[in-house]
């Protein structure tokens, strides 16, 4: 029978507060807490359970008497009149708590068969309009949850009915062009006509029609997501033709740098494995990958971010023979949290809800994995409405003797980790008739929720299996599921797969669904037959499921079987090399350049500084940072918030990932969506510079910085959008060569546009550059907080009139001006000299200049250290005070130097631009003099810090 346990909190009711606050936000009211009188959570239990047994379960496991009260009964027993609604996950959505409860109850010897969790809300009197708001927008996310008013009408919790095998063949050979296009659309294959024709020709040659699973496999493998066909295809851009844009720009630069380094080449594996790999120390390489998870996060922010971080962690685990994740990064782009709710296009979640969901998703997955989240950034721009960007990155350590992999003929194909379900099948939905009596459809592929504990257990056994040498190759199941993982791992061999061997979450999946499901937390291993027993025992000892799906064979064919029958047979060469090349046009016409003279706004410079500190891109992200465990694993050296009150914004994080060793990794990033539309070349060069200077500022060796690119663009089918991307890629090539910083990995996401009726929003070209710098000795690292009075402050680098896209323009609502462009000759010299000064212990604090320029950087250094500063020169002769204070010119740092080391530092900096700004003082205030010699900035540190902390101090 079905039991229901309803649990209400004693004392504060945080879920009620959360829901009430959302109601207030959407209705511009303060009625939420009055209308909503309470919340509950609870469990539905199915099994042959007596009331005594349920009571035992409540007492021993489910309810904490000291902080909550429970009522239990048969389903709907305690139906109260004030019940507004019950919120349940839709059938088939991952419910980690329910799974844990089943396991724990069975462990106690109680016959619990299945569990569902729920949330419940109470509101005795509700007008229809308020009810509508609660039901439609506030209580649940309809992508994954269902809202049930009144009693629950369930008879069973279990899912699935048995599947009866039937081979499906797709009559493709006789279709005309229109028929092919229709098939691609209706089957959600997302293949172009040329690609469909190529497939048609192939099967005509074979003299048969493809099965459904063959067509799906081709569609997955040839998808933009898996094959990056736009950036690897032919692009005509004015008089330039790229046959493979990435290969001829970013990748070519890396190859050239490696050639020039010769024997000192410190790259190990670039652009080929699941992550880029570089040398770290004698025993380990470091690997780094950053992914995006934008669309899922727009629909279901929590699950989208959650599975985004889960996926990139598996990328590291699937690099070489398995990297151990040592830290995570996350970068988000959102619309402003104060966006008026009535301005939202239909179907778009409020940015505030997206922000809360995304942060919680990263928090819950990263923290549970025991991986510190150490670095990130958040950008706000109205064009991310409907199209938020969520970048998740992971750094790992890979033993040097485990850096390469190759499946061998005869190796078993072993799936480990989570089970396969219908979640994550693109466009697939559960039909209610098949699964439950309920008339609810089940979530499709775009939205999943992760189960971090399944992945943590997987991580624990994989690393043990790696060290025991139990497999020859590993990869993760990401987009395309088994189809991509096995297809890629066996590309040079051939494979036979028995799809009925895959462990399923519930019955009813067809062979094709099993093959292409993107269920989370699964990895594929190639296991020599003689090692299988050992691996099986290891997995069993830690409650991780592992099964043999098939075998790699030197046939050049991918053979798929179900219950012994052949359901698909594809030529590996055709699968991986058969796709026709995409040819695209790219154009770029720069926006009309407006005069670079920045008009002085009516605000005083003193007021502008406070506006800048409080602008969302610059303001403190402490609310986010402190929700992430950034110190687990014990490697923390430079934390994201530094200074006397641990409240100043660090330029980059540093970890010493091998406990007891002083070799470190600095992790930083560069991103600035405000420049992309104005000058994509300059934007890309400048954000590479930002990523590099962030890690150099804390002590990374500029000769050992590896870069990652993540391009998030609008729809590159439009030539002008692709044109801006080509320019950005060219800039990446040029700056990488100039700085001798190789790109080692990257990823693109090319269709970030939102359409709803007449509304069409394109994101600005958004390039995230992530930098991984090696720190030779973490004890020499430097933080950005001022350390002591009486020290000398220097500006290293040169301020130019580059106000285009600046944050000063943003807060003062000004336009025009040039976007900052790094000086390719000077910049590497500045990095080298600064690093030398840091290695000599001459730099007491160092902060890079980015959003908000010199004045913001000085303010942050001062309040972070609780030390004041008198800046008598801005080091920008001939420029206006506005430009001197707020220009965002690249490759600039402020450094603090003890007076007795000043002349040595000045000598060291002889061949790069520098200027003496002033000195640090004990008084807790910042003063900056303008060109006239008058103080144009004068604030107490408290005022500055408050301006910076308040806006996002949620």
């Amino acid at each position: 029978m079905l039991w229901e346990i309803e649990i209400r909190p004693k004392g504060s009711d945080s879920d009620r507060d959360r829901v009430a606050a959302e109601f207030d936000l959407l209705t511009h009211s303060n009625d939420g807490r009055r209308l909503l009188t309470g919340s509950a959570r609870g469990y539905l239990l199915e099994g042959e359970l007596s009331r005594n047994q349920v009571e035992q379960l409540v007492r021993e496991l489910l309810v904490d008497d000291l902080v909550e009260t429970a009522t239990l009964g048969a389903l709907n027993d305690h139906l109260s009149s004030d019940r507004l609604a019950t919120v349940l996950y839709k059938p088939g959505v991952m419910d980690p708590v329910a799974l844990s409860v089943v396991d724990a109850a069975v462990g106690l010897g109680l016959p619990v068969e299945s569990v569902r969790t729920f949330r419940r809300y109470f509101a005795p009197e509700l007008a229809p309009a308020a009810r509508e708001v609660f039901f439609r927008k506030v209580l649940a996310n309809e992508a994954i949850e269902q809202v049930v008013p009144g009693p629950l009408s369930l008879e069973h919790l279990s899912l699935g009915t048995p599947y009866t095998f039937r081979l499906v063949t797709v009559p493709l050979r006789e279709l005309d062009e229109a028929g092919l296009v229709h098939l691609s659309k209706s089957g959600q294959l997302a293949l172009s006509l040329a690609e469909m024709q190529t497939i048609q020709a192939h099967f005509r040659e074979l003299g048969r029609d493809p099965t459904d699973v063959e067509l799906e496999t081709l569609a997955q493998t040839w998808s933009e997501h898996c094959s990056h066909k736009t950036l690897k295809g032919i692009i005509d851009f004015g008089d330039r033709r790229y046959n493979n844009l990435l290969k001829e720009t970013i990748f070519a630069a890396t190859q050239q740098i490696r050639r020039e380094l010769g024997d000192d080449d410190w790259c190990v594996s670039v652009f080929e494995d699941n992550a880029g790999v570089v040398r770290f120390d004698e025993k380990f390489h470091a690997c780094f990958k950053v992914e995006t998870h934008n669309r899922p996060s727009a629909i279901e922010p929590y699950g989208g971010a959650n599975t985004g971080i889960g996926g990139v962690i598996r990328d590291i685990l699937g690099t070489g023979l398995g990297g151990k994740p040592v830290c995570n990064t996350d970068v988000f782009c959102f619309a402003a949290p104060d966006t008026p709710p009535e301005s939202l296009p239909p179907g778009v979640l409020h940015p505030r809800k997206i922000i809360h969901g995304v942060v919680a998703g990263v928090r819950d997955y990263g923290n549970r994995m025991g991986i510190p989240t150490v670095n990130g950034a958040v950008c706000f721009d109205p064009h991310y409405l409907g199209n938020p960007l969520v970048y998740c990155g992971t750094v790992g350590l890979l033993p040097v003797d485990r850096a390469t992999k190759a499946a061998r003929p005869g190796d078993l194909i072993v799936a480990v980790g989570g089970r396969t379900g219908r979640d994550g099948i693109h466009g697939a939905t559960f039909s209610s008739a098949e699964l439950t009596e309920e008339s609810e459809s089940v979530s499709g592929g775009a939205v999943q929720i992760g189960n971090a504990i399944t992945e943590k257990k997987l991580l624990d056994v994989i690393l043990q299996a790696r060290d025991a040498d139990l497999y020859t190759a590993i990869t993760d199941c990401g987009a395309g599921g088994f189809s991509s993982a096995i297809g890629e791992m066996g590309a040079e061999l051939g494979a036979v797969v028995d799809l009925d061997k895959a462990p399923l979450k519930y019955q009813g999946l067809s062979y094709t669904e099993i093959w292409i499901s993107e269920s989370q937390e699964r990895m594929i291993l190639a296991v020599p037959a003689e090692k299988w027993n050992h691996l099986q025992q290891l997995c069993a000892s830690e409650d991780v499921e592992a099964v043999v799906l098939g075998r790699f064979e030197q046939t050049g064919k991918l053979l798929l079987r179900y219950q012994g029958e052949r359901v698909g047979e594809l030529d590996m060469h055709f699968l991986h090399e058969g796709r026709p090349t995409v040819v695209r046009q790219a154009v770029w016409s720069p926006p009309t350049f407006q005069p670079s003279k920045t008009p002085r706004s009516s605000h005083s410079l003193n007021d502008s500084l406070l506006s800048l500190l409080g602008s969302l891109n610059i303001a403190s992200k402490e609310w986010i940072i402190r929700q992430y465990d950034h110190e687990v694993q014990g490697g923390s050296v430079i934390k994201p918030l530094v200074g006397i009150h641990e409240a100043g914004p660090s330029d980059a994080a540093v970890i010493a990932p091998v406990l007891g060793s002083t070799i470190g990794l600095a992790i930083g990033c560069g991103i600035n969506p405000r420049w992309g539309d104005l000058d994509p070349y300059a934007m890309a060069a400048a954000v590479v510079d930002e990523a590099a200077r962030n890690v150099v500022a804390v002590g990374a060796d500029p000769a050992r910085i590896a870069l990652l690119d993540n391009f998030c663009w609008g729809n590159t089918d439009r030539p002008e959008v692709l044109g801006s991307l080509v320019l950005a890629a060219e800039a990446c090539r040029d700056v990488a060569l100039a700085y001798r910083m190789p790109f080692i990995s990257g990823k693109d996401s090319l269709k970030n546009e939102f359409r709803s009726g007449p509304i069409h929003i394109t994101i600005p070209p958004t390039l995230l550059i992530s930098a991984l710098g090696r720190v030779p000795d973490v004890r020499r690292c430097v933080t950005m907080d001022l350390k002591a009075p009486g020290h000398v402050l220097y500006l290293v680098g040169q301020t130019k009139e580059e106000m285009g896209g600046s944050h000063y323009h943003l807060v003062e609502q000004l336009q025009g001006g040039a976007v900052p462009r790094p000086d390719f000759t000077l910049a590497p010299k500045i990095f080298a000299r600064l690093h030398e000064a840091i290695l000599r212990n001459w730099v007491r604090s160092c902060h890079d200049l980015s959003e908000g320029g010199l004045a913001v950087a000085l303010a942050e250094m001062a309040f972070a250290g609780g030390i004041g500063a008198d800046v008598t020169s801005t080091g920008a002769a001939g420029l206006s005070d506005v430009v001197a204070l707020f220009s965002e010119s690249t490759t600039r740092f402020i450094i603090e130097v003890a007076a007795e080391q000043a002349s040595a530092v000045e000598t060291l900096l002889a061949d790069v631009p520098w200027s003496r700004l002033g000195c640090t003082v004990a008084e807790p205030r910042l003063r900056i003099a303008g060109a006239s010699g008058e103080w144009v900035i004068w604030h107490s540190l408290e005022t500055l810090q408050r301006a910076w902390q308040e806006p996002l101090g949620w």
Binding site: D64, A104, H630, E631, I644
Partner: protein
């Protein structure tokens, strides 16, 4: 002098096991990590060790409530073995999730006829918090804290607020000297703020049992072992070993 052997108990989702092992090894112990499945199969393994540590993490995802499923496992399958271990003058340490599990398993405070005396639940701000806190020790009941007056350690938890069933029970814990570790303000702090980050009753950050040999604490001593883990290390070149090291050294010293 024979080496002290430390068992670091791993359960699915435990994740501070490696740095806890590092801390004990630095203190001169032999520290081994063992999965709870192996210990459940042969609880007698426990008797090879002098110290049992349940490290931080999110065992079983903290599904249901933090540390709860592990607590049920400990109470049901290892309760006798653990009590026997304690009664043989050995030491048990629960850090963060380990504290949550030990407390909820009734291994720090024995339940009375009405049930458990205290629990650890959601922080008063409803969120996970990673920050550094100042701690003060009380009494000399607990061997782990001998000679320690103050510590500066990080917390990283969502459910660290101690709640007692009744106020007299809270007072009883304070008077009995079981509230051995409490949040306090910085010595340099101009205000009298309690420094309590999570709303814990009595500012309690750590509790020991009546023998003093079972200690649970929310802060992470294993994250303050090296000078470069201190959040202000770049401001102060004289910092030595981290404050957390004392707990691990004391555990080893107890047996010598």
């Amino acid at each position: 002098m024979p080496s002290i052997k430390v068992l670091i108990l791993r359960a699915p989702g435990a994740n501070c096991d490696v740095e806890t092992q590092f801390a004990f090894e630095r203190a001169g112990a032999i520290a081994e990590r063992l999965h709870i499945n192996q210990l459940r199969e042969s609880p007698a393994l426990l008797q090879r060790y002098q110290v049992l540590v349940i490290p931080g993490g999110f065992t079983y995802g903290d599904d249901v409530a933090a540390g709860k499923i592990l607590a049920v496992q400990l109470a049901h399958f290892l309760g006798d073995a653990l009590r026997k271990f304690r009664d043989r003058e050995k030491l048990i340490l629960g850090i963060c999730n380990g504290f949550q599990a030990l407390l909820k398993a009734g291994l720090i405070l024995s339940p009375d006829e009405e049930g458990p005396i205290a629990t650890l639940t959601h922080n008063s701000n409803g969120r996970f918090i990673d920050r550094w806190v100042h701690l003060q020790t009380f009494g000399d009941r607990c061997p782990f804290l001998q000679g320690v007056e103050r510590m500066f350690l990080p917390i990283a938890h969502g459910e660290g607020r101690l709640v007692c069933r009744a106020d007299w029970q809270l007072q009883g814990l304070l008077q009995a000297g079981q509230a051995v570790l409490r949040y306090t303000s910085s010595l340099n702090s101009p205000t009298n703020a309690s420094g309590n980050p999570n709303g814990s009753q009595g500012d309690i950050a750590g509790l020991c049992d009546l023998t003093g040999r079972v200690l649970g604490l929310m802060p992470h001593p294993e994250r303050h072992i090296l000078p470069t883990q201190h959040p202000h290390w770049t401001r102060n070149s004289t910092l030595g070993e981290g404050d957390g090291m004392a707990i691990f050294r004391n555990a080893v010293r107890f047996f010598h």
